[in-house]
Symmetry: C2
Subunit: 168 residues, 2 copies
DNA sequence: CAAGATTGACTTGTCAATCTTA
DNA sequence: TAAGATTGACAAGTCAATCTTG
């Protein structure tokens, strides 16, 4: 085909087969709906957003329940301003506290209230994860999911840098 | 164990094994990062959000590029007010138009500009889906992903109604 | 200057309340 | 009344600009 402009259908076919497109859409849709559902019931049953929960869970598993803000951001894979806004909100709710470390480092500490909120939310939340995901899949499927998730994640992290190598 | 209150560790162990929890977290994290990355480059390269793209893509594949708003909401699995706000924004940008059908039904129509925007965005977007997902996975893995996504999705849709079966 | 932190403006999504007519 | 549409207030996230100090 040497026409200069391909039709829309042509272009899509080059990109992805119908089979691949269907697979992608199934995944994409599932992930959207799942995320919405979890967010919703987390909010309804415990007043926490998914973001809140992620921060609390991360803090709870770190030595001294205390971590440098920047590291927390890296851990969660969040932009710094998103993290900042999130921490500000959680501070005013008393779920965490900010502390100043040496040389303008900010540390984030889990408060008692934060730990309590997490403890209150976790059972229901995890039960729902089990109900909606774990229990739906065979052990094999769950392993497949974990494996392919890690594979995709590696690619995402790798692509973090400049595509074409601009050396410092 | 007949103690009334289990420790936090106990409760978690009951909910999910470490293995299961790890699998879940891998998936959850991957999905977060992936979504962020796609959203970001879609925005950067075409000025469309993921939500914009979903609406445009759905409209493009529907007869006459015209569909009732409510049906579109069902298709996308969106709440009505989310859809409304989204459509309002897209209207002001000229990507779609609203038309009144019979008995206060609202129809959404894809405009030329909307179709152009989609055609401009699609190749890059799909290429990225291919690069970040499709090409990372073996054909088997992709099939596994599709299959398990559909399985989870079935569970999600089933849980839409009252948990205990209220028949029509 | 650069890394880490902060800020504000703006966009997106949610919730709850309201409106309208079959 | 109930389904579909609308609205506004608010929470969450992004981007770009700024501040601060090693």
């Amino acid at each position: 085909v040497d026409r200069q402009r391909a039709t829309r259908a042509d272009r899509r076919r080059v990109q992805l087969t119908d089979h691949q497109l269907h697979a992608w859409r199934s995944f994409f849709h599932m992930q959207q709906v799942l995320r919405g559902r979890l967010e919703q019931s987390l909010q309804a049953t415990s007043g926490l957003s998914n973001a809140d929960y992620s921060v609390l869970a991360a803090l709870a598993e770190v030595p001294n329940r205390r971590i440098r803000a920047f590291q927390l951001g890296t851990l969660l894979g969040w932009e710094k301003s998103r993290l900042h806004h999130q921490l500000t909100r959680m501070c005013t709710r008393g779920l965490i506290e900010r502390e100043l470390g040496e040389s303008r480092a900010i540390y984030v500490v889990l408060t008692r209230a934060g730990l309590r909120a997490l403890a209150a939310a976790a059972p229901t939340h995890l039960a729902q994860v089990r109900e909606l995901v774990i229990d739906r899949l065979t052990p094999d499927q769950l392993d497949q999911l974990a494996h392919l998730s890690n594979t995709i994640l590696e690619g995402l992290v790798a692509g973090d840098d400049v595509p074409s190598g601009t050396s410092a």
